[in-house]
């Protein structure tokens, strides 16, 4: 493994102070939560020296709070903990299923959706599901806290909007309304333990007649970053989310995609499959919304 120092601060101010001190000295800090990406990178692709700043011990990164209108998920909470919370999985089945797709039981004992987001891979499964759910990042820095929509957080492959003195505290997600449903689906060539070839998250609201009044669609692994697809949402709003509307939303996703060809899939395949995932995830979100009331 690469050479590093390790610190586990106990307060937000201590973390931001350390981050700015390390950046000021010209050396490198790396935030760590569950470490399932960070430690693998340190063992393989990037062994350069740094200080690991473990943020698991902060109350703000470990807090899970289901409020009246929104839910706060601390950035360091392992996905296994999220999926054991029946209230959370009932509110956000699509998001928690996305978290449940990342890695094995062992990985999920440590890995967090905050870490998945900060790792900023194009294929991170939780990111399209967070985007679909309208999640907002709560970011701490030396100047205080700021918020940023998840779709604006990831800026490139492995890059994000965090400044040198900043780290992710948690995610705020608006709670579903009386007829809201979400879903996330990904395609992988096997049934488990793989990285998304394409992934699609959908959240939508229905009115009492079953007409879609609001929608958000996030797509992943088909562009340098996960994307919000407003045109796919527009194709659903005002419809009963029937086959024609789902097909139009699927076309919007295929159009928004700018994928690469690699060993997991070609450009043409990814463009096609992202549409198929949109249709299927959209239908699940619709049925969940209808079943909720």
């Amino acid at each position: 493994m690469g050479s590093f120092a390790y610190v586990a601060p106990k307060s937000v101010a201590e973390v931001t102070g350390l981050l700015s001190e390390i950046a000021g000295s010209g050396s490198r800090a790396q935030i760590m939560a569950g470490g399932t990406d960070v430690l693998v990178q340190l063992k393989t692709v990037d062994r350069s020296a740094r200080t690991l700043v473990d943020i698991k011990g902060l109350p703000e990164t470990a807090r899970l709070e289901i409020g009246e209108s929104e839910t706060y998920i601390g950035a360091a909470i392992p996905s296994a903990v999220l999926n054991e919370n029946a209230d959370l999985t009932a509110l956000f089945p699509g998001l928690t299923e996305a978290a449940d797709l990342i890695g094995s039981t062992q990985i999920q004992g440590r890995a967090s959706i905050g870490g998945n987001l900060c790792n900023s891979s194009p294929a991170g499964d939780s990111i399209p599901a967070l985007i679909a759910n309208g999640a907002v990042c709560v970011i701490a820095g030396t100047g205080g806290e700021r918020v940023l929509p998840v779709e604006d957080f990831v800026t490139g492959v492995g890059r994000n909007a965090l400044a040198d003195d900043e780290f992710l505290l948690g995610l705020k997600i608006p709670n579903p309304g009386p007829r809201t449903g979400d879903a996330y689906l990904r395609f992988i060539p096997r049934t488990e333990m793989d990285i998304a070839v394409a992934g699609c998250g959908v959240r939508l609201d229905l009115d009492e007649q079953g007409i879609c009044t609001a929608a958000r669609v996030g797509i992943g692994a088909v562009a340098p970053t996960a994307l919000l697809v407003p045109k796919a949402a527009e194709a659903l709003i005002g419809t009963a989310v029937d086959d024609a509307a789902l097909a139009a939303a699927a076309d919007a996703c295929s159009e928004a995609a700018s994928p690469i060809s690699d060993k997991r899939g070609t450009v043409a395949f990814r463009r096609k499959i992202i549409g198929v995932l949109m249709k299927r995830a959209g239908a699940i979100a619709r049925d969940r919304a209808a079943a909720r009331s």
């Binding site: 586990a8 399932t36 690991l52 392992p78 094995s104 039981t105």
Partner: protein, 159 residues
């Protein structure tokens, strides 16, 4: 690099050790504490050979820094059997010949313990998904699944 002093518990015993920040929990378990039952396979969290329980939660010890075990409760394969004898999960792995070379076995048994503590009567699909992070290149898995099913039945009768 200066060493860090860590106080933890391994299989119920208070343990203290010195480690560098770079040492993983599996490094310290095997090389410092002589608990060599935990095996290291891939070192990148893919194979599950190093599975241990950290505060009751199943994790890969190769992706836990030893310093992170400060104040924690660690359970390894050495903590599964009791003074009375092997744990029923271990008995069933032997009975069903659910192992050949044995490198993956401690990880499978620890992972199975975590599974059956949480889901005492898992169906086959639940077992296969739960154990998807434990790789075995000898058995083809079927014997392992049978052993886990039989252990679940045995433990349910004992309860």
């Amino acid at each position: 690099m200066s060493k860090v002093h860590v106080t933890t518990r391994v299989n119920g015993d208070p343990v203290e050790f010195l480690c560098t920040p770079e040492q993983t929990l599996v490094d310290v378990l095997r090389d410092t504490l002589d608990r060599t039952g935990t095996k290291e396979g891939c070192s990148t969290g893919d194979c599950g050979a190093c599975s241990v329980l950290l505060n009751g939660r199943l994790v890969c010890a190769c992706l836990v820094l030893a310093v992170e075990s400060e104040g924690a409760e660690v359970t390894t394969i050495e903590g599964i059997a009791t003074e009375e004898g092997l744990h029923p999960i271990q008995e069933k792995f032997l009975e069903h010949a659910a192992l050949q070379c044995g490198i993956c076995t401690p990880g499978f048994i620890v992972a199975t313990k975590a599974l059956l503590d949480k889901h005492p009567e898992p169906d086959e699909e639940t077992i296969r998904y739960w154990l998807a992070g434990n790789l075995c290149r000898c058995t083809g898995y079927d014997k392992i699944i049978r052993a886990v099913q039989d252990a679940a039945t045995t433990l349910a009768h004992e309860a």
